[in-house]
Subunit: 101 residues, 2 copies
DNA sequence: CCAATACTGAAGCATACACTTGACAATAGC
DNA sequence: GCTATTGTCAAGTGTATGCTTCAGTATTGG
């Protein structure tokens, strides 16, 4: 789960909308595409990027591909944010104790 | 703190590297630029995007501009991730209780 | 079996965006 | 005051990427 790919994937508003929608529950590609006013092909391209980044998982059964959130990507993202925050707060703590002296 | 700008800002590897570096502590623009092999101008451009997204805060004193992490951007990002996770897990919960019946 | 559905693949286009150069402005140190 | 440092502004360039069209492949339902 490469953080680089994850941020790149979510950097696009359409892909983020897709992911947000999927976090409410699994959808077929067509259903996922319905509210977006771009081509199905376009959606499929975005989907591939989301999949490669570990944010979304898809499975094809018959002719319909079902898409669902892949927890691993989200977990990687959360860890990244948590790590940055802890570094940042440690810094603030040091500053605080310096001022306290 | 627009989530759209935040993800766009962090979607670029250079900007993310800058932010990661700043989370360890404040830096001047030149110091921030030093390890990156792009122009100072390029760094300044990235910096503006980070600033507009609420991830970084800068202050110019004399001729040196000091850059530090702005907690608001990070908080917005964390909230977004938390919200997606909770939606996603609620879904898994419903599935679980369905199977339990 | 035939038509409709649900995607997939290749190729092209047009814009956004990362990055550069070159010139300039303001401050700091000697 | 002169020079070096630190950053800013405007404009241009090339590539990445979001999106489209068109054509094709399975699969499903009547």
């Amino acid at each position: 789960m490469d953080i680089d790919r994850i941020f790149h994937a979510l950097g696009d508003p359409t892909r983020r909308a897709m992911f947000e929608r999927l976090s409410a529950g699994p959808l077929s590609v067509s259903n996922l595409a319905a509210p977006l006013d771009i081509t199905l092909t376009g959606v499929a391209q975005h989907l591939q990027i989301l999949e490669e980044s570990g944010l979304v998982q898809t499975e094809k059964v018959g002719r319909v591909r079902t898409c669902r959130v892949d927890g691993r990507g989200l977990a990687t993202l959360e860890k990244w944010a948590r790590d940055r925050r802890s570094m940042w707060e440690r810094r603030l703590d040091r500053l605080g104790s310096l001022l306290a002296e």
